[in-house]
Symmetry: D3
Amino acid sequence: MREDGRLYDELRKIHIETDYTNYAEGSVYIAFGATRLLCNVSVEERVPPFLRGTGGGWVTAEYAMLPRATHTRMMRESVKGRASGRTMEIQRLIGRALRSIMDLKTLGERTLWIDCDVLQADGGTRAVAITGAFVAVANALATLLKKKAIKKIPLQDFIAAASVGLKNGQPYLDLTCAEDTTVSVDMNVVMTGGGKYVEVQGTGEHHPFDTDELHALLAYAKLGVDQLITKQKEVLGPELTELISG
Amino acid sequence: MREDGRLYDELRKIHIETDYTNYAEGSVYIAFGATRLLCNVSVEERVPPFLRGTGGGWVTAEYAMLPRATHTRMMRESVKGRASGRTMEIQRLIGRALRSIMDLKTLGERTLWIDCDVLQADGGTRAVAITGAFVAVANALATLLKKKAIKKIPLQDFIAAASVGLKNGQPYLDLTCAEDTTVSVDMNVVMTGGGKYVEVQGTGEHHPFDTDELHALLAYAKLGVDQLITKQKEVLGPELTELISG
Amino acid sequence: MREDGRLYDELRKIHIETDYTNYAEGSVYIAFGATRLLCNVSVEERVPPFLRGTGGGWVTAEYAMLPRATHTRMMRESVKGRASGRTMEIQRLIGRALRSIMDLKTLGERTLWIDCDVLQADGGTRAVAITGAFVAVANALATLLKKKAIKKIPLQDFIAAASVGLKNGQPYLDLTCAEDTTVSVDMNVVMTGGGKYVEVQGTGEHHPFDTDELHALLAYAKLGVDQLITKQKEVLGPELTELISG
Amino acid sequence: MREDGRLYDELRKIHIETDYTNYAEGSVYIAFGATRLLCNVSVEERVPPFLRGTGGGWVTAEYAMLPRATHTRMMRESVKGRASGRTMEIQRLIGRALRSIMDLKTLGERTLWIDCDVLQADGGTRAVAITGAFVAVANALATLLKKKAIKKIPLQDFIAAASVGLKNGQPYLDLTCAEDTTVSVDMNVVMTGGGKYVEVQGTGEHHPFDTDELHALLAYAKLGVDQLITKQKEVLGPELTELISG
Amino acid sequence: MREDGRLYDELRKIHIETDYTNYAEGSVYIAFGATRLLCNVSVEERVPPFLRGTGGGWVTAEYAMLPRATHTRMMRESVKGRASGRTMEIQRLIGRALRSIMDLKTLGERTLWIDCDVLQADGGTRAVAITGAFVAVANALATLLKKKAIKKIPLQDFIAAASVGLKNGQPYLDLTCAEDTTVSVDMNVVMTGGGKYVEVQGTGEHHPFDTDELHALLAYAKLGVDQLITKQKEVLGPELTELISG
Amino acid sequence: MREDGRLYDELRKIHIETDYTNYAEGSVYIAFGATRLLCNVSVEERVPPFLRGTGGGWVTAEYAMLPRATHTRMMRESVKGRASGRTMEIQRLIGRALRSIMDLKTLGERTLWIDCDVLQADGGTRAVAITGAFVAVANALATLLKKKAIKKIPLQDFIAAASVGLKNGQPYLDLTCAEDTTVSVDMNVVMTGGGKYVEVQGTGEHHPFDTDELHALLAYAKLGVDQLITKQKEVLGPELTELISG
């Protein structure tokens, strides 16, 4: 049993709230236990230079932590004058994940900006960000559909992400910060509603892992993602779920 | 009557929630209508170089907006690589305001970092920030007192802030964003529980104002600040209110 | 009596010299005692993006200190790679002050850049900057009028600024650097020739102040501004003074 | 058959040259076909602040491309003033990979700086960088051992990396740049001499992939890594290979 | 004859004023015709890290132009966030020139900061800067000598600098900005009172030059430098001139 | 005799290799002894704003060192966020030198970007860079001629550069790093095939030099440049040499 009483393959309590702020086209507050994020999606009616005139759209993400999202206060990246490598890595991952199930032609020449801001961090922020961003993106697209700016919801499937780790040979699903610092292998898996992989990022910095361990981790991740997608469908409602060609 | 049904001298609905996040020594969620901020106070057990060895402490503030706190998305300051002049001006104001009623010697050689992050902006963010920051600072100090790190609460009075404006000769209290863009004079007033001024910042960029107008604006500001301080006392409770030598 | 022999309500010796450099459309050297600035106004025949096509003009300011304008050398902001919060705050104030009495439509689609560079700082640099900038702006506009680029001088009034402070209940006009570090309340007031306020910025970081003290400070500021505007008129000459619709 | 005549599971021509420059403790020139890198390892006799006094060492990496390493010239990151997200992501990966098989206690309180500079890029630069960096690190450690700065080579195993991709269901090993732009799944795998995973990073931005596809990709990667480690052993020679406790 | 009536080998009107500002240890206002600079020297009682504990001192320079020193306004380098290559090149030249005649051991473990700020630029700013900086440095050293911080003036000679150019085979001394844009060869020469070269920087970007032309240019430069050093001696006075072991 | 056995007027072993990388229009690997550089020339079919529509082209250079080009590792300029003054000075010199013999009208509205990257530094990098850049530029132009993008090779002469120094009155040609730190005068001379000067940059930071010393240094530089141009002609071959109107 884990410190917080969960089973090894059990997610933390998931809370998702839509329309959290008034202005963003999609606005989601999401918590996995004490990890709390705000995912806002903004629609911009233009695309980066390399896409102009192609008819296709773009999806990009930015990720940041509030200075006191963590146990001790961190310096703001606007004060340091540059985003850290970790920040860049995470926001690139979020953008890729959301693009993977987006039909960019149907989206049309517009950009979806996904802002994932961590209010409080207790492990798994990149998985929470992707899971919440999907809901916010779906809501933003529903708004565009209602305005007839797009003809159909350009999502080809659901996606969600789970973090998994390995400690003394035992896989763990949805790691807290305390657990994260003790595992020897750390993996983030982004999967679709159809059970396919969008991203697999596993690191054995403290312990190279073998094929059996890889399989065990992927199985735990699938367990988590399946529940998260069920939750996403519940939050988005049957009508919008139906419109997502998953 | 105003667009949102308020009287000219009426505040918006005020909501203050303490212990909003788990890690910060003081953590306050505060809303004036649709303007919503998170004020976190962190205690750092050291002071800037110019104070080392003096026995005195320091209070400093940082202010930022989430990219979609506003009607249209703004670029992150960490992406631009520098804070804007407006950001710097506001965070300097918050820091000065909170230092004005702090007994820095009693605080001892430690720094209070006040982080004011705007989740949603509908006018008056600097007044909301100061009002919320006071509550978060009081809570952080109560934590220090409980740990016996300080001997008494080093606050000499309460402070809160109100924004006021002038439109066609009529003063307005607690401006929304829509009102703010139409007023000819814009003023922020920080006052103590004892009714004294800590900061008066009035700008007649579109209409220089006379002494009578100045008085009318200050009277409205006092009305607002008095109610805000009553609210702060209610939130902090009678015991902590008693300990603040106001 | 004050350390330099002045009365409490007495300005330092004011020196204003026009056409100080050859290239700027308006170029003013201004000194209040040992505080010495160069205010250059440049006319640029275009406006920032948000004004293009509106027919209106813009006025903006930049402020900087030479590294050895102060008792000990300060690092250049070009070396640090960014302007400080203080610099930003001051240049925003100068810009707002000059826009407040400018008829931007009459100015037409052009920008006035006001550069205030401090050669030597002995207190009151923001007041000196605004007072000198007004003269430089008036000269630059006279040049435009002579060239028939504008039909009339688009200034609706004179403006000047004074710094005032409070020490042991006694107001002081036009503070030196030495005085500035000992006052408990510090205020800058920008006023028009017609006696109206354009900016009131008072800070009681070390001593919240009451309404009577506020009045006393404003009265001293008015005394100073009136004399400064008289001086400005003298320097600009009767003809140009006449053209400024004050 | 592939455009360059290779089989799907065939590596490009591998060329590794040691002692390429004179000053670096380990200096390796490595080419996979037209992808050419210089991997230099520098030993610094101190560690980052978070490790001081712990007795343990550190390994970190920096990665950059010469401006004309690519088909069209790219702007230098020193001109842009910041490293891109891609650069940061790659150098973090290289650092993690090399730390995974390093016994940091045996290394002692010193830092190995790995500089991977791409002279010419034709796909797979991160895999080439890790494969070359391992050889350069081994050489730098041999230098330290010879000087008796360390008691034994603190490498617990060999590592190398391969890039693999999936196109129309067919896995490809060691992608060229031309191939890389056409695959639907892109994966980098870092493995040890013992056949374990250190990093698995797979992205199906254009095509979510299933478990069978994942297995096929991992099998191709293993084929590549095994040959690369054989090549590394050949270059390092039997004596040094023996000292690496793989 | 030249546009401004000068002979080819004639300097512009030279004006040097010492003690121009109050705080700097050496403060010189210098003009060559319409080129006007302020050279301030600050003494800092410490040296850069590479000199600590060596007993030797350091001399370094910074150079900047006010935004409207030129015909059209230039953006501030603090706004751009970095000094230009031209700025860096000039300030490195000034620093080297002044170090060349300084006995750094006698100066002791302190740094002389030379700030050369261009109020108005009409050609030759680097020559004017060096010529003025020498006077400011001499004054700063005289202050140190008076305070007995140093035992003797650590200057081994005088230095001054002249700009020369070549146009249709004719050398020109002390070029104005208008002349500078038409010459085919542009040269700056820094020389000592003893007639030796400290720096020779000649550029034939628009016209490679031969040995005879080089000689003619150097002869003109010597003519200029000799007069400038005479002027420096006059400004510094016989007593201080005597103390400079030239 | 010198430490490495050379005569005072003897160059180090020169090695020039063309077509070193595949993508650049001109790509040269050049070594003077242990100083090794890569000079890549890229052709961009547009010019900077100030040349648009003029029909003329541009030549610009960038210079950088790999972090371990030197005895001890240097921090990357992309990490520091800005190029050093030394870097800027050198790249400006390379650009000017190559423009001096380029007929920019014949080049047409395109830009040649010269990237000089130092793989290993043992003195004289700026001379090596210019000498190698000339060959790379000539090759890039030959490519353009072959494609009929230009009508003739727009080079008016050959150029090469030599570093010379003075130690105890003895001139030295082509200084190594060890020699460079002991000389009292340091000079770089860029000359044409016709024996004219393009740049003369001599610095006597540690020893002002007289006219005789200047002549001796220039004579040594000429000796070096003549041999370097002979080598360049050999590498470029008789046909291309013929096309360069030297």
